[in-house]
């Protein structure tokens, strides 16, 4: 698992825009995450070479920011808010339903590779509580246990290639896990 020369060149160019190399770390990490769906161990060493931050410092960054991750997730990543507004509007039940529908614990990949559910801190969608976010881009509002169950079922029904990237790779990861 490693970045291609072309990709490294691109990252280098990007990093050059900053007064300090390490300022480019977040960009590089997102780049890697977009490529693999998560940030694998070997990539820490590669990004470390580029940014002059040690692999440990990069891992400190990744674990600090919720949007960066070190473990693979399903084809669809569903975040459901558990902060105060959403909590008062029933996010606990939504989360419980999501967990049940996915069939695995939070953070794990459902057996079919379709989804990973994660509780999240406030998503800034408090006016639409209980709120959620899919693939860090599509927002969900006024969630109910029924709605989330339906959503997860619809993701399970998606064909593997209906979403670009990830599918095969995630199934390969799952196979490794078994």
């Amino acid at each position: 698992m490693s970045l291609t020369e072309h990709e490294i060149e691109h990252l280098r160019e990007h990093i050059e825009h900053y007064p300090e190399k390490r300022a480019g770390a977040i960009y590089c990490l997102y780049y890697v995450q977009d490529k693999y769906g998560y940030i694998p161990r070997a990539s820490l060493d590669e990004v470390s070479e580029l940014t002059d931050l040690s692999p440990t410092q990069l891992d400190e960054l990744i674990t600090f920011y919720t949007l960066l991750r070190r473990r693979p997730v399903g084809r669809r990543l569903i975040r459901i808010c558990d902060s105060i507004s959403c909590y008062t509007r029933g996010s606990e039940q939504v989360l419980a339903a999501a967990k049940e529908a996915s069939g695995v614990e939070f953070g794990q990949i459902s057996k079919d590779g379709a989804v990973t559910v994660l509780p999240s801190i406030c998503l800034g969608l408090c006016d639409r509580a209980p709120a959620g976010l899919v693939d860090d881009s599509e927002d969900l509002g006024e969630l109910t246990p029924e709605k989330i169950r339906d959503l997860i079922c619809s993701y399970a029904a998606e064909t593997l290639d209906s979403k670009s990237g990830g599918g095969q790779q995630i199934l390969a990861v799952l196979k490794d896990q078994q």
Partner: protein, 783 residues
């Protein structure tokens, strides 16, 4: 200097103190967690609260964190008298305890636990929180440090030590909010030579001593003493703790001006060699175990009629022992040495003669420019930690070395040109060039940095420096003037003392006397000549003699060859005096007695005639002065007269690759018998720079192996490609040197050997150190 007031009580403070320091100095028990004198204040734990007393009308009292306030004359605070501050501290501790497990009865930190002390001190006796506690995964961190993550109170002391103080980069703070974990990316042992200090700085039982936990004792039941570390020439102050006649742990002894708060992992874990399963603990004569007392056996052995004796002391035994042995030799009319290797003897003595202005660790930390010659980390870890302090402040550190060294990596990272690799035979020339460029009008590069420095420090590693380089480094210091200081890491804890008690060329003379057959009996105390640089010569010479009487506490090669083995005490088991690399005389006190009787080195004096005893006394007096430092005190430095040295030919520049030593920071003669520490010994390899390999016409990658040939001996090892190995050199471990019967600087032949299979390397030793079954110390909450 000045006075501030706490609860109306005047409190004197020192320059640089914060209010918390001043209060502690005055024995006012202010709670604190995140503050540590060596790591500074971050004001994050919020327990060191006091209330200000308004000095002007209209001003309101404020609750402040005393660790973050610089002490100033006339400041006034309420602490016990305040109605607010103690409540703040107590509430904070209560918060911490909502995360912390109530596992004190099974916690290794018990008795030494800062968290427990503070919890009781602030009066948080009753836990109101009845919610579910969060649990966190423990991480396996190798054989030396044990992690119980639930106990963490996120004071950040551990990372502040590991990353900020010791410049390590394989341990960090992961996560955010109430989900912070202090760990490595990958499981396994730490890279830093100073990792054990996170046990000491952690105010809770999150990081504990894994070796101690296997032979645990409540810490208040331990027998302790003020001792000195016996595992390198720095002479750090340590406190061994023992119970039931066995050593359980070693911790740094604070309040000393030598190592202050910390020690290296070698100092913390090498002493466990005293518990090695193969340690000689009973007298053995001709292979038979005997019950007689050690001293009687020794007396008998020395009285055999046909013996012509030689006597060998040791640079890892204390000064008095060596003096006694020297006098015993004169009673027996025998040659004496405290060295096993003539070259090491010459280098040590040359370095000792030039160490009169050697910098203390504090001087090194305060230096504004440092030049290091040799692989310092691997020879004197705490001296190197002092260099890191200067490096961290951005002071220029330059390094000239021949094999890979942790310090070299750091220097390179800061300024890549300031670490240069070069074969040791060329070091003297390089230093001479530096000296001549100093005298030029426009010095540049290293010369300019040294010339412009107000307090430059030059450090060398005596064991690996050719004598000419040692002299050149001292000359460089002399040229730089009085502000410059030069010091040398010496090969062993008491090398400085050993140098004082042996005649010029003593080891060569003893060896030759043996080889000629002039002597047919040798008494060795605390040395292992058969495994040293001259192992082969000694082994041959000793094979011929009738009486080899060895007094030691490790199962060394020489012990194994002995006709009489007398078990002796380790440094924690007897009293004595070491002289460190600065010429600092430091005493150590016995912490405990073993259950089986071993010879205490101080008993050896009983073997001497009355005259000889008097000579020991007078020599001690003339060497150390009239005041013997008490154990635990910093000791004073001696400035002995110049030692005569004698001549010895050293390796010269050849055409082929020269062998240099690839050391590692946990390595030392005794340390090799400390099971847990020794299990971290890196796998043997042959280090070579990629560019040099290419120049030799060798195409190498990480699966290549090379055969080294030198004097009829061959050894095939996997290759370790490293730009940190000098051109013209190949770097191998001490073990490889012994196997090749080679010496530093020997010219070798390299040939490509069969490649390693492409299979991944065998898992490292760490895997053997899985937790004990039924280990329940985290309250049964296993990750």
């Amino acid at each position: 200097m000045g006075t501030l007031y706490i609860d109306d009580q005047p409190v004197e403070f020192q320059p640089g103190d914060n209010v918390l320091d001043a209060a502690k100095r005055a024995n006012i028990e202010v709670p604190y967690f995140c503050y540590h004198p060596a790591l500074g204040a971050v004001g994050s734990c919020r327990v060191c609260a006091m209330e200000t007393v308004p000095s002007r009308e209209g001003e309101q009292p404020r609750t402040v964190m005393t660790c973050t306030l610089k002490a100033q004359d006339g400041m006034r605070f309420r602490f016990a008298q305040s109605d607010k501050a103690p409540g703040v501290s107590k509430t904070m501790v209560e918060f911490y305890m909502t995360r912390h497990p109530n596992d004190c009865p099974v916690c290794d930190e018990g008795g030494d636990c800062h968290l427990q002390n503070m919890t009781v001190e602030v009066g948080h006796a009753y836990r109101r929180f009845d919610g579910q506690k969060k649990t966190y995964p423990n991480q396996l961190l190798g054989p030396l440090v044990w992690n119980t993550a639930n106990r963490c109170i996120t004071c950040y002391r551990c990372v502040r030590f590991y990353q900020d103080y010791a410049l390590g980069d394989d341990f960090g703070a992961m996560g955010s909010r109430n989900n912070v974990l202090f760990r490595r990316i990958d499981d396994g042992a730490f890279d830093s030579p100073f990792a054990g200090n996170i046990i000491t700085v952690c105010p809770t039982g999150t990081f504990t001593d894994k070796v101690f936990r296997r032979k645990y004792s409540r810490t208040w039941m331990l027998k302790k003493s003020a001792s000195i570390c016996a595992h390198c020439s720095v002479g750090c102050h340590v406190e061994p703790g023992a119970r039931a006649g066995t050593l359980r742990r070693v911790v740094p002894n604070e309040n000393s001006a030598v190592n202050q708060y910390f020690i290296c992992d070698r100092g913390r874990y090498a002493p466990h060699a005293s518990e090695a399963a193969n340690r000689p603990l009973q007298v053995k004569v001709g292979g038979q175990l005997r019950q007689e007392p050690a001293l009687a056996v020794l007396r008998q052995a020395l009285a055999v009629s046909d013996a012509r004796w030689g006597v060998m002391g040791s640079a890892r035994e204390d000064v008095v022992t060596n003096l006694v042995l020297q006098q015993l030799a004169s009673d027996l009319n025998a040659p004496f040495t405290a060295f096993t290797d003539p070259l090491t003897e010459v280098r040590t003595k040359t370095a000792v003669n030039l160490s009169l202005s050697a910098p203390s660790l504090q001087d090194i930390e305060a230096a504004d420019c440092i030049l290091v010659v040799g692989e310092l980390t691997e020879h004197a870890p705490m001296m190197e930690l002092a260099v890191r302090q200067a490096l961290k402040q951005g002071k220029p550190v330059m390094m000239l070395h021949a094999a890979a060294s942790l310090l070299a990596g750091m220097v390179r990272k800061q300024r890549s040109l300031q670490a240069q690799t070069q074969a040791p035979v060329l070091w003297a020339e390089t230093l001479q060039k530096l000296i001549s460029s100093l005298s030029q009008e426009q010095a540049d590069g290293w010369a300019a940095l040294l010339k412009n420095a107000k307090a430059p420090v030059l450090l060398g590693v005596a064991e690996v420096m050719p004598t000419a380089a040692i002299k050149a480094l001292a000359e460089l210091a002399a040229v730089l003037g009085e502000q410059a200081r030069v010091g040398f890491a010496l090969p062993a804890a008491n090398s400085f003392g050993a140098a004082q008690v042996s005649q010029a060329g003593s080891s060569e003379q003893l060896l030759e006397a043996l080889e000629r057959g002039d002597i047919n009996a040798l008494l060795v105390v605390g040395a292992d000549p058969m495994s040293g640089w001259q192992g082969e010569r000694w082994s041959k010479a000793l094979a011929k003699i009738q009486h080899l009487v060895v007094v030691d506490h490790i199962h060394s090669a020489t012990v194994q060859a002995a006709t009489v083995v007398v078990p002796s005490a380790t440094v924690s088991e007897h009293n004595g005096v070491f002289i460190n690399y600065e010429g600092r005389v430091q005493s150590f006190a016995k912490a405990y007695s073993r259950e089986t009787q071993v010879l205490l080195q101080e008993e050896l004096i009983a073997l001497l005639s009355g005259d000889a005893r008097a000579r020991v006394q007078s020599q001690l007096l003339s060497m150390l002065g009239s005041v013997m430092p008490s154990p635990g005190s910093t000791g004073s430095r001696i400035k002995p007269a110049t030692l005569p040295i004698g001549q010895l030919a050293e390796a010269v520049l050849g055409n082929g690759p020269a062998l240099v030593l690839q050391g590692w920071h946990g390595e030392e003669e005794v340390a090799g018998f400390a099971t847990e520490l020794a299990s971290l010994t890196p796998h043997d390899s042959v280090g070579i720079a990629p560019a040099y390999a290419k120049a030799l016409g060798l195409t190498l990658d990480k699966n290549s192996r090379l055969t080294i040939s030198v004097h009829n001996k061959q050894l095939t090892l996997p290759v370790s490609l490293s730009a940190q190995v000098a051109e013209g050199c190949v770097a191998v471990s001490r073990r490889a040197f012994a196997e090749l019967q080679a010496r530093l600087g020997d010219e070798v032949k390299l040939t490509a050997a069969m490649r390693l299979s492409e299979e991944p390397a065998a898992p490292s030793v760490v895997a053997h150190f899985t937790p004990l079954q039924g280990d329940n110390s985290n309250g049964g909450l296993r990750p």
